[in-house]
Every structure is written in structure tokens, then in C-alpha cells.
Point group: C2
Chain length 569, copies 2
């Protein structure tokens, strides 16, 4: 089974030719020493690490998986050594501030790194996947004393971190959480309760594990406003074992390389992060970045599935293709069969266009933090707020559905473990659920972000996108039409009677899908403008023909609901 | 974990109220004693057997699976006893002719039975799944001597059967098969070669196993016309072990309850079925029924996934629903949330409408065999030829995609094994591949069945469907529109220049999808006409609003290709 191999030239084309990343970051003093040479160097190094160290462990990560015995978790063969090498090479600190021991590089590089890591080995990548979010959370909300003890170690990845949110009865609805935090005389808190679905709640990769735990103070109100965030380490100073225990790990559909732990906090010592009752706010500081992370996982998994399918389709010969053919063989490579070509081209288009959108969003995250112009920081923050839920939902879904299409290229061989393609399908499925289900993303987009300002921010962002299109080209005109269509549907939703409280929730999924396709049309048009090579043109052409038409359908469904039309009436 | 429970009243509504199955079969002398009482009795008995005997074995079938050691396969706990009970109760012979020891009942009852069996335990159901096809194949093509020795035992299920087609380098392209058949002096043949992906190639369920093996005689031409079909038993008369060996079983994504065997035929004794060089024709006699079988598997798996999701959504409370709510609770059952309601209603609509189509197709199979009027037999055969590939592709895809939607209802709990929903997603995936990949189904429909007669048979079938619609109702008008749309697209394809040999292959998948939606619109309209109950109305309304609009999109994509339009030009 061939391992995933990062293809740096694809990233460089998108960053340099399509997005002109260097130009965008040029005004940011924070990255004054960052140039395209350094960018290439970091990406080449990252690609080598991913391809040589992490990718080869993926198959055993699935087959052997994490194992649980007597409260401890053993990670699959090689995972520990790979993590040590990752830590020692400084990868976790890539985008952390230099004053915290980080390398102070733009976050978008970490985005590319994690896309590749996820493509190569989703299970292994879960371990460091929360580090940067925990770092940001602690950096912005932790007390000086907490930061003194934990921040540098989390930045460097010396200790790994978890997010302990979900409880058996409280999933999407964290406000129902019951874990209790009780203040102690010394300023610490005592934590008691049960958490489930805790990725990396226990493992053998690092000496200590730092849990960020959502819990409720004794006098706290019911619901989400009663929740506070606590830092609870596995080991306290002086080698004292804290009361944070793993009771079991889940048997899952996939992602066997990552231990999904049921955690029991029993008389555990912790410290408040930020203000009491503001726990969700402290978590949300890392939410957009974390959701973009998950979108990049989806992109990576889809690219990995595509890479396998593409290689197989070039080798496997079955039947003759319609039209001209090689008479010296009894059958043609299946990549020439239209049904297989369609799968390969459309999934390639999802990856290519998705990278344009995701990397631009990563750049906007850097811009939102570091641009000297407050107005530009605001538009960047608005971009991230609007596009992140779209990317999270769209690319986790596409990882699963497109991964399944790639599996189809293998025929029966895709269903057996041997080729590794079915693992991508199983692994990817969870990304549609965690970090906010895709249905939650749709509600986040429409109900929390588009409707409250009557679609103003969305309209402004789409206007900016339209300005960057070359409408002298058919692709630019098609993308402009797509953006107009989304604008009209947005307006229809904003104008709908507020007497229909269910309407935005009924329409949210179709609206997010429409937004996905309009944004992708923009991305595809940008690629079309940037390169005339078949490598980039063929997927874009397939996307405009076969993928984009869904936009009109989704908009029509939403508008029909807005009109209050009963189709059966 | 709750087991699958057949809901007989759903089937009876569709058979009696929507399709009026009894009236349709009334002219068929073969089923003179078959009436609605007997129908209910058979279905009640079948439901009980499925729910009590087969369904409870599904979880262990996945978790423990089939195991292989020293050339033998051990089936999961309970499988053997359940199969013995199935055989002893006479279920395999339900639709076999009375002169072969069968019960002589209509085939559509077997269709319902196998839908339920697949819903309850896909892995177990693979074992008897090929019996009826093998029975038909042997009955129509076997010599009297072969029939004398094997037919009754296959009819009764005393011995199970396999289809040995695929070879490592010959999947969709069976013409590349290399297994050799060498004639012997006594009229038997010697078989040598390797076959893969042989479901039930080895097991402990029955004393003997009868393999139907596609192989090539020494003087046979290359390609599919050189293939002959042979009957090769595991045990020869007198307890002599034949040279048909299982070398390994595959590690698969799912369907662990069914052993997928790599078979080695080494100096094996077999007998020709039908004429030499006509092996594929002999297999094709069972092809439509086998593909309908697979469509019913998809339907069953989707219904099983829906049943789990529906039960979970009624119990699980998270967040408040928009609009009126129960103030005594902190959260509402998620079935009231629009995003969950959408999933439950649309997937229910796929099952309900799919049953209408699939059961009608099963009835047409009975009519094609037994109706006194040759013209009616011909229209029935035409229905089966056209609709079967549509159903096979549509419902295997929907089992996987809709199963994944049902998994989503569980949130993170859907991704862990505990609830059993992820097993449906894993198990169902293979149905999109076996018995002809879904891409092959699309080619079969368009290239082999619609285009050769310039769309005449398709047009005639759609005309008949249109006549059964109540266009006094919105649903009937919507379905008539859908049928008209498909007609126009069919004509566009038939009128396209033959100078584009790739066009039909480029358009096949979208065309099959358009046909699916037009046929489903007909089915939903029929349901809408037959019942005003919310149980039936809510899914149909959701389908017309959210599912049917895809038809127009697919037709537009096909017509754009017909027009030779380059979207990017």
C-alpha cells in the first residue's frame, strides 16, 4: 500500500499563483522576515516529515489501533517515536509566538502542515491537533501563574492537551453539562464529573496531559452561561497523580489511531481559565481556528483518497474505453473510462478549489491578528466568521462522500482493507460530527452570522469576491452569476417573515450548501485564471459542468421555503 | 442495541393500497390459490422469523465475523442454527416451483423476505442470497442429469450455492477471465484457476457447497464469448473432496458476517451448464432478479438505519426546538429539530417510494413469467429490464448515503460501535459495487437498454406510468412533469450525434439519476394518492420539496452534454 505523499508544487501554485500569499502578508510586521524562500523551505521540510515519518504509520494505526488496559492507553507502533520527532523538530510551535518559544511563523503554514498530516495519518494527527487551540486559549485567558507553568510546554508540544466538553447527555447542547467545579481555599478548584469522546484523554505520547475541562461552579445558573473552563493536568507538580482517569476507550467506525476516552474527574485539582461563567467564551477563542483545522482534515483526507484512486486508475485495466484505444492491449486503464474520469476530475476539483478557500481563510486568520489596518482586520475577521463554518461542513462532507467515490474507483478491491482506501472513508466520517456537527455549522452560518445583520457582512464579502473575478472569462462570469444567485437567496431569507421561527433552521443546510458552491465557483474561477495547464483546467471544467449546477437547485429550495410555498398544496 | 423489527403494516399498505398486488396477480393461473390472507400469513411468519431468529445475530456477526483457519471458514455464533431453521421452515423454496419441492408462491414475497433479512442481518443473508438465482440458472440451463442431482437440493437450500466470476485481474471485465475448463473423457470437465470475492465460497452452514464457475474451454476465443459456466461441487458423490479450496477470506470494511473467499480450483471436477461459450448468457438469466435482490438489500439496510435513527431521535434531548416547546424540560427531543426532521423524513421517503418501485418490479417479474397474455409479459419484461438497473444503483447508493445521514442523527454516538448504526454504513457500502458496479448499471440502462431502440421502450413505460397518476392532485402533476422532463432528456440523448462515442458514457450516471428521480416522483405521487395519513404524507412532502428538484439539475447536465456545449467555452 502506497503512503500519502505531499505534493508541494500543488500548494505552492495555489499560494503563489492563485492567492499571492506573500503579497497579502507583506503589510504584516509580525512576519517581516517571512518570504517565499522561507515558505518553500518550511513546506519542503514539512512535506518530508509527513511523507517519511507520519504516513508510513497510518495502516498499523488503523489495524492495531490504540489499546486500553488498567487505565492506560498504548498508542500504535511508531506513534510515540514519531511524536517525539515532531516535538523535537519544533513543529508544534511553528505558529506560536516567539516569546512563548515558538517560531512566530504565519498560521497558514500550520494549516498546510495539518492538512498534510491528516492526509497522511488522521489518527496520529489527532494527538497534536488541539495543541495550538489550547495554546491560544491559555495565552488569551489564563492567569500569569497558569501561563508560567503551562504555556511554553503546550506551545512546544512537550505536553499534549485535550478539550473536555461532551458528557453522555450533553453533546451539541453543552449547556446541559453537569461536571462540577468546586472552589478550594488555595485558589484551586476541585473537579468532579464524567466526560466522553475525549480525544487523547490518555496516551503514552507525552509525560503529562493538560485537560481543558468545561464544568459548573456550585452557584452557577443552568445552561451555557453557568459553564466555566478549568485547566486540569494529569500530573500535578511533584509527581502527584491528579484525579483525571480514563475509564475506557470507544470502539469506533475508524480513527483507531486516536484514543477516544471516557474520562472520570474525581476529586481532581484544577484552575480556572478566564472568568467563572465565561467558559464557553474562552473556548470560542479557538473555535474558528479549530473548525478550520477540521476543514483541512477533510481536505487532506479527500486528497489522500484521490491520490490512491488516481494511482490505481492509471494501473488497472478493464474493458475498452469508448473511442480511440490501444489495440495492443485487451483492456484500457480505467482512468480513461468516462465514469472514472468524472470521479477523479470532480474530486480533484473539490480539493483544488477547497485549498484556495481554506488557505485564503488561513491567511485571513493571520491578517485578522496582525494587520496594521483595523478595517482590514475587521474584514478578515468577518471572512473567517462566515467562511469557516462553510469550509468545516463542506470539506468534512466531501471527505466522506468523495472518499467513497474514490473507493468506487477500486471496485471490489476498494471494499477490502488491502488498499487502504476504505480506511479513509471510515476515518473521515467523524469529521462531519466533531467540532460542531455540520448541522450546527449551518445554523452558525445562517442564524448566528448572516441573519443578525440582515446579510450585510455576507453581502460585503461577496462583493469583494466579485471584484477579484476576471469576467472576461467564462469561468469568471459563471462565478459572478453564482455569487449573484447566493446574494438573492440571502436577501430572500433576510426578508422572510419573522413569524416563521422554524424557517431559518429549515433552510440552514441548503443555504450552507449554496454558500459552499458559490465560494467554490469563485475558487475555481481563480484557478482557471491562474493556469492554462490541463492539470488545473480539467478538474475546473468538470466542476463547472457537474458540480456547480447544484447551486441553483439549493437556492430554489430555500427560496421556495421563504415564499412559504407548500409544494403539495 | 435494539434489533431490526419488520413492520408488516408498511408492506401491506404498499402492496394492498398503493399497488393492489392481488389484482395484478389475479390473471396468473400459477398463483390461483394465492390470496390476500395467504399473503398476510406469509409476511407475518417471515417478519417473525426475521425479527426473532436472524436480527439478534447481526451485532456478533459484525464484531466476531467469519474466521478462517486451515482452509475452513467458521461462521459467527448462531449463524448455523439460524440457517438450519431457515432451511427447515422452507423459506429458501418459497418461490421455487412445486415440482422442484418449492412452495410455488410469487417471487415478490421472496423480495419482501430478503429485504427484511438484509435489514436485519446483511452478512447472514448473503449466504442464502444466491440460492434462488442458482436455482433458476440450473433449472433453465442445466442438463437433466445435473438437475436430477442438484436442483431440489438447491431449491430447498439443503446445499448453498456460489457464483464464481471475478478473478484478480477480471472484475467488471469478466471477458478477461482465465480460469480453464478442460473436457474429460467421461463428459465431465476439469477446472483450474483462481477466483476472488466469492461470497460464501467456504462455510459451515451446509454439508455441501455448489459453485457456479465461469471458465474458458481450451479452444475458446478470447473475451466474453469464450466463457462457459460450470457446476463444481465442494463434495463429489461418495464423499470425495473436490478440488475447490478456499485460500483466504478478505478483511473488509464491513459485511464481516459473510466470508468473502479467494478460491482455488485445482484439478476440480465440474459439469457444463448450458452450452459451451454461452456461460454469460446462462448467468444473465438470474441477473435481473439478482440485481433486484441487491436493490432490496439497499432498501432494507436504509430502513434499518432509519429505524435506529428514528428511535434515537425520539429519546435523545438536546437544545430547544424553534417555536413552541415543552417548558417542563431543559431540552427537546431532537426529532423536533428541523435538521433532524429533514433527515428522518427524506430517508423515510426513499424507503417508502423505493418499496413501491421495487415491489412493483418484483410483481412485474412474476407477471413476465406467468401472465397468460404475451403482450403483458413483454411489457413486464421491459419494465424489469429498464427499472432494475435504476433500482440497483439508486438504492445501494441511498443505503450508504442515507445510512450516513441516519448516523448523523446520533452525533458522536453514531461513530461508536455501541449503537450499531455505523455497521449499516460499513455493510451497505459494498452493495454499490457487487452484482455490477453502479456505474455499470448506468451504462446498462442507457447504452444497452435505452439507446438501442431509440428510447422507445423507455417512452412506452413512462407513458404507462403517466396514465396511473392522479393529475387532479399536485403530487400527480409534479410526477407527470418529472416524467415529461425525463422523456425530453431521453430524446435529447437519442438525437445526439453518434460521432460522439463517449457521450452516452459521459451522460450515463446523470441519466440514471434522472430516471431514479422521475420514477420516485411517480412512486411518491402514488403514495400521496393512497393515504392522507401523516405517516405517509410527511415523507412524501419532504421528498417533493427537497429531493425531487435534483431531477431538473441532472437533466440539464445531460442536455448540456448532448448539445456539445463546452461550459467553459
Amino acid at each position: 500500500m502506497a503512503h500519502y505523499l505531499p505534493r508541494t508544487e500543488d500548494q505552492l501554485f495555489i499560494l503563489n499563483q492563485v492567492l499571492r500569499a506573500q503579497e497579502q502578508l507583506q503589510p504584516l510586521a509580525a512576519f517581516g522576515e517571512f518570504d517565499s524562500d522561507l515558505q518553500s523551505q518550511v513546506l519542503e521540510e514539512a512535506a518530508r516529515f509527513v511523507g517519511e515519518v507520519v504516513a508510513p504509520l497510518n495502516e498499523a494505526g488503523d489495524r492495531i489501533g490504540c489499546t486500553f488496559a488498567d487505565g492506560t492507553v498504548t498508542t500504535p507502533p511508531g506513534f510515540r517515536d514519531a511524536y517525539r520527532a515532531f516535538h523535537e523538530a519544533g513543529w508544534p510551535a511553528l505558529a506560536c509566538a516567539t516569546e512563548d518559544g515558538g517560531q512566530g511563523l504565519p498560521w497558514f503554514l500550520e494549516g498546510v502542515l495539518y492538512e498534510w498530516l491528516s492526509a497522511a495519518n488522521h489518527g496520529w494527527t489527532m494527538a497534536p491537533g488541539l495543541l495550538h487551540g489550547a495554546y491560544e486559549c491559555l495565552k488569551h485567558h489564563g492567569s500569569d501563574e497558569l501561563k508560567q507553568r503551562y504555556l511554553a510546554r503546550i506551545a512546544s508540544g512537550e505536553w499534549l492537551a485535550t478539550m473536555c466538553l461532551t458528557e453522555p447527555h450533553a453533546g451539541s447542547d453543552l449547556g446541559l453539562a453537569r461536571t462540577r467545579g468546586t472552589p478550594q481555599a488555595d485558589g484551586s478548584w476541585r473537579l468532579d464529573g464524567s466526560k466522553i469522546f475525549i480525544s487523547g484523554g490518555e496516551h503514552d505520547l507525552t509525560e503529562n496531559i493538560v485537560h481543558l475541562v468545561l464544568a459548573r461552579a456550585p452557584d452557577a445558573p443552568a445552561g451555557p452561561k453557568g459553564l466555566s473552563l478549568f485547566l486540569v493536568p494529569k500530573w500535578l507538580d511533584g509527581g502527584v497523580r491528579n484525579g483525571a482517569f480514563c475509564d475506557r476507550i470507544e470502539e469506533k467506525m475508524g480513527l483507531h489511531g486516536s484514543a477516544t476516552c471516557a474520562m472520570r474527574f474525581e476529586n481532581a485539582t484544577g484552575w480556572l481559565i478566564g472568568e467563572a461563567g465565561r467558559g464557553l467564551a474562552a473556548m470560542f477563542v479557538m473555535m474558528n481556528a479549530a473548525r478550520l483545522h477540521v476543514a483541512l482534515q477533510g481536505l487532506g483526507l479527500l486528497d489522500a483518497a484521490w491520490q490512491k484512486a488516481d494511482a490505481y486508475a492509471r494501473e488497472r485495466r478493464q474493458m475498452r474505453v469508448p473511442g480511440p484505444r490501444d489495440a495492443s492491449e485487451a483492456a484500457d486503464p480505467i482512468e480513461g473510462h468516462p465514469a472514472m474520469r468524472r470521479i477523479l476530475d470532480t474530486q480533484r476539483a473539490w480539493v483544488d478549489g477547497g485549498r484556495v478557500l481554506a488557505y485564503q481563510t488561513a491567511l485571513e486568520l493571520d491578517i485578522a491578528r496582525h494587520h496594521p489596518d483595523a478595517q482590514r482586520r475587521a474584514t478578515a475577521a468577518s471572512w473567517c466568521a462566515l467562511v469557516t463554518p462553510v469550509l468545516k461542513a463542506a470539506f468534512t462532507q466531501q471527505a466522506f462522500l468523495g472518499g467513497s467515490e474514490c473507493l468506487q474507483v477500486f471496485g471490489g478491491h476498494g471494499y477490502v482493507r488491502e488498499w487502504g482506501i476504505e480506511q479513509h472513508v471510515r476515518d473521515s466520517r467523524v469529521t462531519m460530527i466533531y467540532e460542531g456537527t455540520n448541522e450546527i455549522q449551518a445554523i452558525d452560518l445562517l442564524v448566528r452570522k448572516v441573519l443578525p445583520d440582515a446579510g450585510h457582512a455576507m453581502a460585503a464579502m461577496l462583493d469583494r469576491l466579485r471584484e477579484t473575478l476576471d469576467t472576461g472569462r467564462a469561468s469568471g462570469r459563471a462565478a459572478a452569476d453564482a455569487i449573484d444567485q447566493l446574494q438573492r437567496t440571502t436577501q430572500a431569507l433576510c426578508a422572510a417573515p419573522t413569524a416563521q421561527p422554524r424557517l431559518p433552521y429549515e433552510a440552514a443546510d441548503d443555504y450552507l450548501r449554496a454558500a459552499t458552491l458559490a465560494l467554490m465557483a469563485w475558487a475555481w474561477a481563480r484557478i482557471d485564471t491562474a493556469s492554462s495547464q490541463p492539470r488545473w483546467q480539467a478538474p475546473v471544467a468538470a466542476a463547472f459542468l457537474r458540480v456547480l449546477p447544484e447551486l441553483r437547485m439549493r437556492c430554489a429550495i430555500v427560496e421556495q421555503q421563504c415564499a412559504g410555498a407548500e409544494v403539495m398544496a
